[in-house]
Amino acid sequence: MDTFKLTWNITETIQDWLVSIMSENAANITAMVLVAIIYLTLFAVAGLYLVLLERRVAAWFQLRLGPNRVGFQGLLQTMADALKLVSKELTGTVKADKFLYNLAPYFVIVTSLMALAVFPFTKGFQAFDINIGVFFLIAISSIGVIGILLGGWSSNNKFALIGAMRSGVQTISYELSIGLSLLTMVLMTGTLQLSEIVEVQKSGWLIVQGHIPAIIAFMVYMIAGTAETNRAPFDMVEAESELGAGFHTEYSGMKFAYFFLAEFINMFIIACIATTVFFGAWLSPFGITESIPWLGVFWFLLKAFVLVFLMMWFRWTFPRLRIDQLLTLEWKYLLPINLVNIMIMAFLVWQNLIIKF
């Protein structure tokens, strides 16, 4: 099968082509710019349409129609919203710390953007395949909290400050659960590289291979992931009925939109990590379309969107927890469960009890 080459690496292909028409340094820089543009587009489009999806899902849960006027089935609604947000005046409080206040949205947005770069959307369609992929994701996703803390602190608004402090407590706590649940799966695959984690899953998705501890890890991961992205039932940071809008109370127009967009992208990222680590990323179920790599994008996005829908389902069903209950859940339940789960997984790997097809 050597004539029919399955390795189809989009970045390499472009790189080869660029090298053939210009010097290597120029080609490298051009390639980086191109990749950045592609990912920025992906980011914006995904963000906008996740907002639309959320609104339609919410409408469906709440016996409403949702936005369905602008464009076919409301497909252009979020474009119109974005246009409106761009045209809005950027206001702020007088005594805000202007520098930090303006810096905060960029922290949040850059974090999400960086995390997006490592996902294997399909074989070869991965901007940045590093050997410490999982570690990179965990490290990157914890930076977002800086943006929220800065925004809340510098706004010179007590509601924003409370929101920011809640965020600090919440995100840092749940980071542990995310890390440990992913570590459980890393223990099983023996690699931190995302593309290799996908390769391992060719003999069964990890949630099947690791059965009980993998399922526990997945549940813990989804709970912690929802909390990490500050979404209901863990949206204490925003808590519109308590704090007005929490940390972004004083943000308007596009600065607000950055926070908003980042929240949706973060949700997508959490779903992408889960897809990659538990559900075989771009691998099709039962190897149906294994020989057509580009269909992997479809499978990847399908799995990710099912998980995104799950998180939206949480949001439109559950009431919000209280901050002390949130911390109790993390430190008294999720963390011990996770630690025990890692030991079970270690035992399974040691005894070779994992299921492989």
Partner: protein, 373 residues
């Protein structure tokens, strides 16, 4: 401008925050001055008066028929029951006996009003603890009642269906059919409310043991309605001083002893069932008769003092009228349930968190115009 001066002896860690006048959880223009340590509430000072419209003063200027139209602007969620209170007070003063038909219709519409108010409260309660979807479910069922009201008297919110001496119009021919439809529909929806919110573990964790009001405190603060009954204080005006047709129906007074936020929630859910039961007992045989008893065009109350109390969705509404025998009252005073219910807020919210305060406020079921008359 001079504002309310609050607790000035702050501890070093404490700070001060304005919740309101515009805040999503105060459901109107209520300003709460909070003293907070971290997220823990040290003191709550309600600052009232942002939408004060001097309704009691305006009543002294108006005729008795006109007063009725002011009362539904106070507690607009139990508009009909407020109207009924003034009408009953005037009728009692005139010693005017209304027909059975009027009494039964008033009771049915009153209970529908209570259900509609509790529906809205339920939706808002969910929204306040972060479950936005409940809001729409509550409104779905409330809409049916509003449609019935619209067909009956043309208004959906501020009804003005009661007038001294009876009702503005007779019921619409569809009334009985539509009310029965609603009752059948709503019986399937209360269990849905339970599935969505009451049985939710997060909701229970958020409300159980939060904002506990003891029976003794409930009585000494003058709390009434579901808030009082959740603390075991049996205070249902419909039971103890039945008015209209409430003496001919059997229903249970929703009582709880815990006195916490969850108990206040459960009392209202049980009241939904009781109200449905009252409607069911009356709807099948509305007596024939006049829908309005003739009165003078200009009502003049005999000289004296008159007091009438009714049970609105929020508790005991008292109407106190002093008449000097002229065509308008000398003095009118409303004893509104929201005002006394709000008075316990500082008492039960101290020591809990900001999130708890929102949940507690939701179960006090505050309607701000009812407080700021």
């Amino acid at each position: 401008m001079e504002t309310a001066v609050v607790n000035t002896d702050f501890k070093s860690q404490e700070y001060f925050i304005n919740m309101g006048p515009q805040h999503p959880a105060t459901h109107g223009v209520l300003r709460l001055l909070l003293t907070i340590d971290g997220e823990i509430i040290k003191k709550v000072d309600p600052d009232l008066g942002y939408i004060h419209r001097s309704i009691e003063k305006m009543c002294e200027r108006d005729s008795y028929q006109q007063i009725v139209h002011l009362t539904d602007r106070m507690d607009y969620l139990s508009a009909n029951i407020n109207n009924e209170a003034v009408c009953l007070a005037v009728e009692n003063a005139l010693e005017l006996e209304v027909t059975d038909r009027i009494k039964v219709i008033r009771t049915i519409v009153g209970e529908l009003t209570r259900i509609s108010s509790h529906c809205l409260w339920w939706g808002v309660m969910g929204m306040d603890v972060g479950a936005l979807t409940t809001y729409f479910y509550g409104f779905r069922d409330r809409e049916m009642i509003n449609d019935i009201f619209e067909e009956t008297c043309g208004a959906r919110l501020t009804m003005n269906y009661n007038v001294p001496g009876g009702l503005m119009f007779d019921i619409h021919p569809n009334f009985v059919k539509r009310v029965k439809e609603f009752v059948a529909h709503f019986k399937t929806k209360i269990p849905e409310y339970d599935r969505l919110l009451s049985n939710n573990i997060i909701f229970q964790k958020r409300t159980k043991g939060v904002g506990v009001l003891t029976k003794e405190d409930a009585i000494s603060f003058g709390v009434s309605g579901p808030v009082g009954r959740a603390s075991g204080y049996s205070c249902d005006v419909r039971k103890y001083h039945p008015y209209s047709a409430l003496d001919r129906v059997t229903f249970n007074e929703a009582l709880r002893i815990e006195g916490d936020t969850y108990a206040r929630y459960q009392v209202r859910i049980q009241e939904l069932w009781e109200s449905l039961s009252i409607i069911e007992q009356l709807i099948d045989n509305i007596p024939e008769g006049d829908y309005r008893v003739p009165t003078n065009a200009v009502i003049k109350l005999p000289k004296g003092e008159y007091y009438q109390k009714v049970e609105t969705a929020r508790g005991e509404l008292g109407v106190y009228i002093i008449s000097t025998g002229t065509k308008n009252p000398y003095r009118v005073k409303f004893r509104s349930p929201g005002f006394s219910n709000l008075s316990v807020l500082n008492h039960i919210a101290v020591g809990s968190k900001i999130a708890d305060l929102v949940a507690i406020m939701a179960t006090l079921d505050l309607v701000i115009p009812d407080i700021d008359r």
